[in-house]
């Protein structure tokens, strides 16, 4: 049973102090109108100048080594900072992917030049990343990617399309999963490699895709025979699958999997506190118990990452439960509209609610679908 353990990690005084510091910073930003809290901000709300400000506070690339401009702090410290940013709906989308997964991926697998040229810029909040996994014909079945990198005299030639890459239009780089040799009949996971692709290179074409809310954060990225130098290969040729699985553990376990719409819940409670005291204590208690459980699990995974473990399965647990919680939360708020009808809610709250309702179907798709999470868990249980 040990594989399901999420050991309890206590928040130390140092962590609580850091939390306080971040919270004060955010309050000041909001008071100075530097940003308006928004829902799903880690996907939708990009503000490069805010990212830069976080960089100067030392809150990006927190766990990266000092020699690359990092701060050599712990994954738990990073966790606390991200929780505060997410719960306040701060505009973190610009740097989110770089700080969450790409930087760590480069530090783990990159060569010296890749590390020294890119990591300091991520840490400063000046270098943004997009994810290069999904393709028009490869969604959940990631190993079926067709994007191809062919060896040339001076490096590689990249050909193919990546899709649903959030923020690619703002990003400087994309870590692209591509086929470098045909899949063997027995193992489709062989022959894949990761590339660190500069999105300003010739023959890279980025086209925006409006999502169902009408906003544009998604992109399709076309690599039309892009010439890549030799040192763009990230990690080992042919080991891309193993690398990408590790990257997904970083992607799935964080508090963004259950705090994406926390600003909605916060405003809702502040607005209706008095009505809730009379008719919503149970509803609020249920939400509190679920959030606290998720925070413990996610914090526990952060500690596993800190100790160099590979919590891919635990990350799937957090994502699956977090996605369910967010859907449940919106349903719960919807039920409350029996007591105070929706049209009587303040405009700003109505907007947040409608926004969340519109966006919620994406939460169990992005970063791996519910079905994929359940599949990962089932495999761990020995069922597959």
């Amino acid at each position: 049973m040990s594989k399901f353990n999420f050991p309890f990690i206590k928040e130390t005084n140092e962590l609580s102090n850091l939390r306080k510091e971040v919270r004060e910073f955010i309050t000041t930003c909001i008071n100075n109108n530097e940003f308006t809290p928004s829902p799903d901000a880690w996907v939708f709300s990009a503000d490069p100048s805010f990212s830069k400000k976080l960089g100067s506070k030392g809150w990006l690339g927190m766990s990266f080594p000092k020699e690359y401009g990092g701060h050599q702090r712990t994954a738990l410290e990073r966790y606390v900072v991200t929780e505060e940013l997410l719960s306040s709906g701060a505009p973190v989308a610009a740097h989110w992917i770089a700080d969450r997964q790409s930087g760590s991926q480069i530090l783990r697998y990159g060569n010296e030049k890749q590390k020294s040229s890119i990591i300091p810029r991520i840490t400063a909040g000046e270098c943004f990343f997009a994810i290069g996994m999904s393709e028009p014909d490869s969604g959940s079945d990631l190993a079926s990617v067709k994007t191809k990198a062919t060896k040339t005299e001076n490096g590689w030639k990249l050909e193919g399309r990546k899709i649903w890459s959030t923020g690619a239009h703002l990003a400087h780089y994309m870590i692209v999963l591509a086929r470098t040799s045909p899949a063997s009949e027995k193992n489709r996971h062989e022959g894949l490699s990761q590339f660190l692709v500069d999105l300003s290179l010739p023959n890279v074409k980025i086209t925006g895709i409006a999502d169902m809310t009408g906003q544009r954060h998604f992109n399709e990225t076309l690599f039309d025979n892009v010439e890549l130098s030799d040192d763009t290969l990230l990690g080992e040729e042919g080991k891309g699958w193993k690398q990408v699985v590790g990257e997904l553990a970083l992607e799935r376990s964080g508090p963004e999997r259950f705090l994406s719409h926390f600003t909605l819940l916060d405003s809702f409670i502040n607005e209706f506190r008095n009505s809730l005291i009379h008719s919503g204590t149970k509803l609020v208690g249920k939400l509190i118990s679920e959030i606290q459980t998720l925070r413990r699990m996610s914090f526990s995974v952060a500690s596993m990452l800190q100790y160099g473990e590979s919590p891919e399965t635990q990350a799937a647990f957090v994502k699956e439960l977090g996605n369910k919680f967010e859907k449940m939360m919106i349903e719960t708020l919807r039920e409350f509209s029996n007591i105070v009808p929706l049209h009587e809610w303040p405009n700003q709250l109505q907007n947040l609610f409608e926004d969340a309702t519109l966006r919620i179907p994406s939460n169990s798709l992005r970063g791996g679908t519910t079905e994929i999470m359940k599949g990962i868990i089932a495999r761990q249980l020995g069922l597959r």
């Binding site: 309890f8 409670i269 609020v284 249920k286 069922l383």
Partner: protein, 342 residues
């Protein structure tokens, strides 16, 4: 102390593996020698007094630290009130009463209770395993003060025997029964909280077993030419069980670090809510994937699901604790939600 506990956990697993089987669960009566032998083995190893003060002959390991033991005991489906005895003895010892030897069970619900001249009369309700022991701890409230009452020769008229549970439970009417000892309940103890913790840990132990049973059954059972576990519909249901279980374990693990008197009410409430909600889902799914065999008395799944059904209702169900949590937050402070949570 951690080493000491680990040795105890290992020893307990060995004892339970040797003695507990589904046959034993069919005949939970005092006259069953196998039940008696198992209890003697448990007692010989000091388990009932694991959280009792040293001066009363216990190991004095704090109750919140021995929750892993409670999980193991219930993971094995032990048809004896060891969990109840451990909690009762702990509460007695903390209230400065020397716990008796043997099984000790507890009661918190009473009707028309009267205490006069060190004698007690009235109805005492919903007592687990009363058929196996004469020792009973009653938590009573009189004039706004809580008391721990120990009876060591319980005797009276059984007025109701609950049948839908796997474990026996009784309501009893007593008249002028001698009280062995009565003391003010240690004021750091709220029995409802401790009971909720106990039931949460028991549920998690049982849910681990139910998950294992489901995995094993679905891996062996062949239908349509392949094992049930090869069907994606089954895989996804079982993975839902694992997610629910892991959330409950995570919620409980916050408690094992606590000390009596810590301001830990929220953690306890969360643990009971999470385990109770998980139990509801796990009961339903485990029976669904087992098909008809799981619905038989002969197969052991139902022993665990019946107990889960009762434990999720004991000491406050999910709604009770959700109200409790919501009220504390909404009424007792003006913080916004995030400041309150983190």
């Amino acid at each position: 102390m951690i080493e000491e506990l680990e040795i105890i956990l290992e020893t307990t697993s060995k004892i339970l593996q040797k003695h507990v089987n589904h046959n034993l669960r069919q005949n939970i009566v005092y006259e069953n020698n196998d039940i008696l032998n198992l209890w003697n083995e448990i007692e010989k190893n000091g388990l009932p007094k694991i959280s009792v003060k040293e001066k009363f002959g216990g190991y004095e390991i704090p109750f919140f630290s021995i929750l892993p033991l409670i999980k193991i005991v219930n993971n094995h489906g032990t048809p004896l009130p060891l969990s109840e005895t451990i909690l009762s003895n702990y509460v007695l010892s903390e209230s400065d009463i020397n716990p008796p030897n043997g099984i000790v069970t507890f009661a918190t619900d009473t009707k028309n209770l009267q205490i006069e001249n060190n004698m007690i009369s009235g109805d005492i309700l919903s007592i687990p395993y009363l058929n196996l022991t004469k020792n009973l701890l009653i938590i009573n409230e009189m004039n706004n003060a809580k008391q721990a009452i120990l009876i060591d020769e319980i005797n009276g008229e059984i007025i109701h025997k609950k049948n839908f549970l796997a474990e026996p439970r009784y309501d009893i009417k007593v008249a002028n029964l001698n009280i062995a000892e009565i003391k003010p309940l240690n004021n750091k103890i709220d029995f409802k909280f401790l009971g909720a913790v106990l039931r949460s840990a028991q549920m998690i132990g049982a849910m681990e077993k139910v998950l294992d049973l489901s995995i094993n059954y679905c891996s062996e059972r062949q239908q349509f030419g392949r094992a049930l576990s090869k069907f994606q519909a089954i895989q996804h249901q079982i993975s839902d069980m694992a997610v629910e279980l892991s959330a409950s374990s995570a919620a409980l693990s916050a408690i094992t670090d606590l000390n009596l008197g810590d301001n830990n009410f929220n953690d306890i409430a969360i643990s009971k809510i999470r385990a109770g909600a998980a139990a509801g889902k796990i009961i339903a799914i485990s029976h669904q994937v087992h098909g008809a065999i799981g619905f038989t008395k002969e197969y052991e799944l139902s022993y665990f699901t019946k107990n889960l059904n009762s434990w999720r209702n004991d000491f406050g169900n999910e709604s009770f604790w959700e109200e409790f949590l919501g009220k504390i937050f909404l009424e007792k402070n003006n913080k916004n939600l995030w400041e309150y949570l983190a």
